[in-house]
């Protein structure tokens, strides 16, 4: 119980810390949460009423978009990070790029079958 309390205090204290010597404008957390809220809403909306035919391509296309972590991975190879982080960054880059390129190409291949058919008709 005391351990739990100690943990909770530490969490609260560190949460408050950056705000005290804080920046002039809104902290990133709040901006980020706004962005998150709106994007989730958009994500819910854009996917409604999709015909079942497109479920697989949609999934694999959005899967490719989730490779956006490539952007984060690139930062980890920058000067802000020590060598060991850079190595993790390189691993992340390889994984994310496979995800991105593989995802988009596979989706394109699937969709090509729909449009090839459309062309003949």
């Amino acid at each position: 119980m005391t351990l739990f309390l100690a943990m909770a205090t530490q969490v609260v204290e560190t949460a408050a810390a950056p705000a005290s010597h804080g920046s002039s404008s809104m902290p990133f957390l709040l901006v980020g949460l706004w962005v998150l809220l709106l994007s989730v809403f958009v994500g819910f909306e854009v996917i409604q009423k999709v015909p079942p035919t497109l479920h697989t391509p949609l999934m694999s296309g959005s899967n490719a978009i989730s490779g956006i972590t490539i952007v984060g991975s690139l930062y980890c190879v920058g000067n802000d990070y020590p060598l060991s982080a850079g190595i993790l960054g390189i691993l992340a880059i390889v994984c994310a790029m496979i995800n991105v390129v593989g995802g988009f190409v596979v989706t394109d291949r699937m969709l090509a079958m729909f449009s090839a058919k459309g062309g003949k008709k």
């Binding site: 609260v12 901006v31 994500g43 996917i47 497109l54 972590t69 990070y81 880059i93």
Partner: protein
Amino acid sequence: MLAFIDATHIVELAYMAASLLFILGILKLGKVKTSKQGNLWAAYGMAIAIGATMLLLITSGDWDPREGEWTYQSHVLAVGAMVLGSVIGWWMAIKVPMTSMPEFVAFFNGLGGAASMFVGLAEVPRAAERNQILAAEGADFAIADSLAVIIGAITLTGSLVAYAKLAGKLNKSRIGPLGSQGVNALLGIACIGLAVWGGFFAKTPTELWLSNGLLAFASLLLGVGLTLPIGGADMPVAIALLNSYSGIAGMTTGFILKNNLLIVAGSLVGASGIILTQIMCKAMNRSLSNVLLGGMGETAGASGGAKDEGYTKVKSTSAEELAALLDAATSVIFVPGYGLAVAQAQHKVRELAGLLEKKGCQVRYAIHPVAGRMPGHMNILLAEADVPYEQLYELDRINDDFKNTDVVVVLGANDVCNPAATNDPKSPIAGMPVLTVWDARTVVVVKRSLASGYAGIRNELFQMDNSLMFLADAKKALEDTITELKAL
């Protein structure tokens, strides 16, 4: 004058453009006519995002070679890694046959999770260098970092298990203690504990590495444990959900790196994945928790062939008889399932359908929402074989028509046309919407054996008065039927 000529502002604008392209891309992907363009737009968005990030890192001097530490310049290594990843991804995507598409989507998805996990872990040495706790940069930072590691790792191993299950390389619901709900709960608690230790208390490099390393390890195990119990029939749901996880993992890295683009793209994928998961669940009339706890997984893995027995009055048929039946029919509906995909029989169905159409017979295809191993799996396969889109009918549009149909040919589908779902309230699939194929005059079930489907339950359809069993590989059966039909 323009207030932003600064590189960071240009990059921010480029990120905005990329976000817009992602949103419009997903929107367009959801419509048949524009789907191909949608995928392209999303890919352009990604290219812009990557290009802008590289511009930022180069102009800010972040990618300058560091003294002493790096043997090669870091940006050269980064570009090399990108090229390597692209080549591997491209090569795999080109090579994969259409039938094994679902498992490869799962595999790519896992790598996305891995990337988020690595990005989360990369913060560890940075904190270690300064001898600071991760939360020194804010509690939100520490929490986001732990979440990136946890969700990324779960996505990675969960997707790999899904890959193995889909590829038929794994059909167990347990590996040692992994897969039981008790062990999962323990792992979950361990993850929370390690996350608190690693984010808020671990200060020395040793502590930081130990806590976060263990966190990654426990999360990797948890990913395996969570996915193992999910039955094969539920894999479409599992993939949709794991896809959503990889988005959420990407979103958390946005909070680590204070990057809005990562948050937008990640939460877009996360949210759309959850909606897709919901659609899948609805199609099977199951709750998400029921799927996740593996209601059917157990029986599927354990019984398998044991349920062959128990069918007493099955009437079997041959290619000759099927050909004669089809020849006399004026309306035929094909019901494709996973067996069709395994046998790669999609072109043969098309050929047979073509022959029947020439004879003036009406040919349609009934597509159950969860037929196959991935939502929309059958639509893709039939599209590959040039089956016209207008001939594909969804469940609610075709179910009333079965009673006016002469012959229904079930091709390697089982659970999606099991009458138990409508008439046996105790059945594990009770209430699941199924194709009411038994209403047709004659049903011919083409199947390799009388074994139960992935749900592991018996199918009364096989011994109904109006049904005939054609025990053969779908492709072989269709080939023979085509030959017989041509000979008539």
